[in-house]
Structure formats: structure tokens, C-alpha cells
Symmetry: C2
């Protein structure tokens, strides 16, 4: 295949690498899906074929994540940023306040949207330490009356990740932005009231968010809410109130099938740990040439952030890496340095190549 | 190409047929776009390559529609249904009322969303005639103080279309849901305050809406609005406030290039008129076997609705047509009968085949 030779290793933070077999299948079916005689891009969302695609994606997600029927699954447009607004609009309730744990820019943005329309407070933050770690559970000051507690499970910009969930008081649902580590490891969904994840890191292409929500919380949706912003409407219509982003849902379905075939969440977690360990070992074993950004016990298995002594060397690293077919290694502008996003779909061979490149770069410049 | 043989003629109302050359290009680039070494599905929305895609799509839209810089162009998620809410949230203003002209179910839905959050009134409707025509300009009772006037330029379900725009009083911006006839004919944009169109009929795949908005109206956006619902935010960030639906924007870009290569809006209008005329001629020339649903002078060039004497025959028509490779001809459940959606991308050969099938069906059953 000529395509294989021309493909780079994509370490971008999102939209991010997809499994090559998923792309090949999407390509092969692009003009005619199954026996429909049309592309998924052209297919009615009310057709039997698309019905199978969307119910199949939901069923595969339920199987992978072990979701009971107590949870609704929704495919919603607008990205995680729209969820920053939909969560308080649906779940906070009149006159109540919501709690937010801050572990990076994205949780701050979620808080800000919640404060646009009502009361929300900071229950814990590590901003004073420039988010090099996530707050400890004992550092969180819970509001016992909060409508919910919101946190961000993985912080793409800083390369930090929660090892286990914060534990809000009884009756305070836990809400999680899991955009950058959804389905990267087994998850005890029963701890959560709602989990949302923009697809473009671990699930599929940009343009759709997967929302998993405990059904009893659907009753909180207020009556006077535009229908497109209502979880209740979306859940009742099974994401088909209006035309969903059909092609994005289809690609998610292919990714979920790829994950199942691989062995599910336990196996992907094993692979992710192995991939991350090799990269962190390369950083830690560089004698200080490469320095990790996040505190070691808070390191993310999805986004590996690190630095070199000078910004000039970092620029040269990014440029040389790009030339070597290692793409997207520049850190986020707010933190600087380097970042390797190593989501589920990034093949282990990409880690091999990056580690070899890092060693070679150090030999030449160290 | 084996794909060509297996493709059907897609008369579905949306998501709808795309130009085959567009699909072929998307397929050929699916694993590696240009020299990026990655799929558009995997590409950062902040990358240079995607920057060219989205600014190129905007530039081509401006060229096709003759948009001056007085108008902002936005790519927004959530479908037209989200616009039903965003239009009043951004443009109505505190304590004011908006006018809606009803010409079908979609304009009624737009009205209903506007009424969820404030005042909106019916300025004209043909619901009493089951929407077989659009309201006459003289039948519209304008509120001189309305925040805006909203109408739906083409009504997919009934197969009706406005020949020219309603003319609201001076100072009342005209807002149009043009989802099902955008870029099907030349448009005098200067008459409009805002035009929105879900992509999945004439522009591209589902999952993105194109919004064209007179910039002075951006000042109406209230301060306390979630950022994802703010036209002002979307316009200022050039649709890149958060991750846009990148692949959908890319396909729109390909469709716009296809339209430009074809000769632009004057040429596509000529083709659309020719296609529609042949189909309406077949209906009108059937001696009453086929009967058009919409009043002739209100007929849509995009959705041709018609009936046969019995529902059993209609069912048989749909079934036999499907078997003959003519897909999606069943009418909307609220109207019944038959509907051929003949958007820009439907090739003239599809009309040939449908007209021949109709004549044959009549010979066998008439």
C-alpha cells in the first residue's frame, strides 16, 4: 500500500490518530456502504442501515464499558465545550450551586461556562502549582449541598491524569469530562452520574460527543430548555431528535469494534501502560536531558509532556521529529515544551520510533 | 470501478446524495491528505493543513454566493435545530418579540423553540391549507417592532419553495432557514440578516450548519450566553473557538469546489430547473395517474412531492423503485405519498431513470 509509506506517526493531542484498519475500512466503504449503494455520508439517519450503525455503536460501547440500562448513551454535537454549558443547564437546578475541581485549562473553561448562567464554586485546584499534578482527594472541599461535582479525568495540556475518581458526598453526582482518556482503561461507571467525551481523541473524529448519563438524572432537565440542549430530549429520542453527525457516529462504531477485537479495556489499558512506561523511561533515563513536566505520580498515560533545557533545542526537536515522520510533538502554547499524545490508536511502533529519535537527538545535541 | 455499478440513485431528503467525484476524492485522500501523512479525520484543527481547508471553504462560499465582508461565515454544530434556539437567543433581545412565517413543520419547530425562551408570533401561515403553498407576501402581517422575521425558504416535506423572499419592514432583519435549497440558485444576500443551512442536503454531510450573518447583528448577542451558543464568539474565533467538525467542513469544501467547477450558482440553477421541469412534466403528463402535492406555482425545485391514487400503489411504487436502484422515494410520514429529492448533487441521469421508471410503472399499473 502506498498510503502506509506516506503516513506519519501522529502524536497530536486531538483530533488525533485513528486505527489504520478503521481508516482503511472507511475508505473501502466510502462510495457504497454494505449493500446500500450509497456512502454513509449520504445516508438518511432514519434508514435501516444507519439505525444499525448507531444502535450497534451504542451496544458496543455498553459492552466495552459494562454499562447497565441504568445509564443512557447519547451522541451529541458541539464538542466538550457544549457540554460545559449543557451540564449546568440540565443538572444544576434553580438556585443551586455546583462544585468544580480544577486540574487545568479545560476544567477552568467548564467552570466559567457554569458561572455564566448560575452559581458554581471551586472545590479544589492545583493552579497555584501550574497544574503539574491533580488535587489530592483530601484537598477537595466539598459542598454537601452541591448539585454535582465536576472534574476532568485527564489533562491533555499538562499531561496529568487522575489515578482514581474524587469521591463527592452521598447524593452529589460525579460528572466527568473524560474527553482525553475515555475507554483507555477499565472504568467503574457506577461511581458516575454523567461522563462526557469529545470523540476526537480516543473515540473517533471531531464533531460528536459521547454522553453516558445515569437515567434518574434526566428528571433534572428543566422544562424551559431548547430541545437541542436537553439531555432528556436527546435520551428519549436516542440521539435521533434531529439529524445526528452520521459519519462521525459511524467511525466511532468502527473504533469500538476495533477495541473489542483487540480485547477490550483491560487489554488496551495494558497496552497504554506499556506504551507510556517506555516513553517515561526514556525521559527519566536521559540523565536530565529530557525532563518530565507532570509530577511522576500524576503522569498521564495519554499525554506525555516533557521539556529540554532550551526552547531553541525544543524547536529543533519538533522540526527534526517532523522531518523524521513524527508529527504533532509541540507542547500546548500555554505550557510550552514537548508533548507526545499516545492515545489508544497510536501504535506501539510509534513509541519505538519516538524513543529511538529521542536517543539520537540527545546523542547529537546533548 | 465496481463502486459505480453498485451505487443507487439517492432521492433521499437528507442526508442526501453527494457528487460522486467528491466522494472519490475523499476516498482517495482518506488515509493521507495531501502531504500531511494523515487523514483529515485525524488532523489537528489548529494545523496549517486544516487552516487551509476551512479558510478555503469560506473563500469558495464567499465567491459562489457573492458575499461581501459585511457578512461573517460560520461553521456551527447541532444542525438547523440548534439554530432554531441560537437565532432567538442571540438576536431577539430582552423583552422583544420575533416574527415567524410558517410554511411547514420545520418553521413550526423554529417558532416553538423561539417561544420556549421568549415572545414570538405567527406573522403568516398556510397551515390551514396543509402547507400546499407558501404564504403570499400580501398575506404576511408584519410586526413593525419585531426583532427579526424568520422564514423557511424551501419546505422539504411538502415540496414547496419561495420564489422570492418575504419583505419585512425596514429595520427588521430577515432570517432564513435555507437548509434544503442553499446554493441551489443565485441569492441576493443583501436582503438577509442571517441565513443558516444544515449541510446535509446541498452542502455536505450531516454534523455542520453554515451560518451567513450580517456583521452588525453580532452586536445583539447578549453577554450572558454560553460561548458555544454565541454567534459573536463563533464569528470572532472564525469557527475555531473549539474543535469544529473538521471532516464535515472538508467535505463541504470539496462540494463548493465542485460547484465552482460546474459554473457556479447560475449554472446549477439552470440544471436544477431543467431537472425539476422534466420530473414535473412527467407528473403533469401522466393523465392524473401521478398527482403533484404542492400547488404548481409554489413547487420546489429541490423536493418533488406527488401521489398515486392508492396507498397500496404508492407502497408498491417505492418497493419496485428501490429494486430498480431508485432509493429514498417514500414521502415524509406526515404527508404520505412520494417524494423525489433532487438536490444539486443528484445527477441528471437519475431523473432520466426515474421518469422512465414512472412511465413503466404507470403502464403496468395504470
Amino acid at each position: 500500500m502506498t498510503e502506509k509509506k506516506t503516513r506519519v506517526h501522529n502524536f497530536g493531542a486531538g483530533p488525533a490518530v485513528l486505527p489504520e484498519t478503521v481508516l482503511e475500512q472507511a475508505r473501502d466503504e466510502l462510495l457504497a456502504y454494505g449493500r446500500t449503494g450509497m456512502s454513509v455520508l449520504e445516508m438518511s439517519h432514519r434508514s435501516a442501515a444507519f439505525g444499525e450503525i448507531i444502535t450497534g455503536a451504542e451496544a458496543d460501547l455498553r459492552r466495552l464499558a459494562g454499562l447497565s440500562d441504568d445509564y443512557a448513551v447519547m451522541f451529541i454535537q458541539g464538542g466538550a465545550s457544549m457540554q460545559f454549558a449543557m451540564v449546568p443547564m440540565n443538572l444544576r437546578g434553580e438556585g443551586r450551586s455546583a462544585d468544580y475541581v480544577l486540574s487545568g485549562i479545560w476544567s477552568k473553561k467548564a467552570l466559567k461556562e457554569a458561572q455564566t448562567l448560575g452559581a458554581a464554586r471551586v472545590a479544589g485546584t492545583t493552579e497555584g502549582e501550574r497544574f503539574v499534578r491533580v488535587p489530592g482527594k483530601a484537598e477537595i472541599d466539598f459542598d454537601q449541598q452541591a448539585a454535582y461535582l465536576h472534574f476532568t479525568s485527564n489533562n491533555t495540556i499538562y499531561g496529568t491524569q487522575w489515578r482514581s475518581e474524587p469521591e463527592p458526598p452521598a447524593g452529589v453526582p460525579l460528572i466527568c469530562d473524560a474527553s482525553s482518556d475515555i475507554l483507555s482503561r477499565p472504568l467503574d461507571v457506577a461511581k458516575y452520574g454523567l461522563i462526557y467525551a469529545g470523540a476526537q481523541k480516543n473515540l473517533g473524529p471531531a464533531g460528536v460527543v459521547v454522553v453516558v448519563m445515569r437515567r434518574d438524572l434526566l428528571e433534572r432537565t428543566p422544562a424551559k430548555l431548547p430541545l437541542m440542549l436537553s439531555y432528556k430530549q436527546m435520551a428519549e429520542s436516542r440521539s435521533l431528535y434531529n439529524t445526528p453527525p452520521t459519519f462521525a457516529v459511524y467511525v466511532i462504531g468502527l473504533v469500538l469494534k476495533w477495541l473489542l477485537a483487540l480485547g477490550g479495556l483491560a487489554e488496551i489499558a495494558r497496552r497504554n501502560e506499556e506504551k507510556a512506561k517506555r516513553l517515561y523511561d526514556a525521559i527519566d533515563g536521559s540523565g536530565g536531558f529530557y525532563r518530565g513536566h507532570a509530577l511522576p505520580e500524576h503522569r498521564s498515560l495519554m499525554n506525555v509532556t516533557f521539556r529540554i533545557a532550551s526552547e531553541d533545542l525544543e524547536k529543533e526537536f519538533v522540526k527534526n521529529a517532523e522531518a523524521a515522520g513524527l508529527s504533532g510533538l509541540k507542547g500546548h502554547r500555554s505550557v510550552g515544551g514537548l508533548r507526545a499524545s499516545i492515545y489508544n490508536a497510536l501504535p506501539p511502533a510509534a513509541i519505538d520510533d519516538l524513543v529511538a529519535f529521542m536517543a539520537d537527538f540527545q546523542r547529537r545535541k546533548g
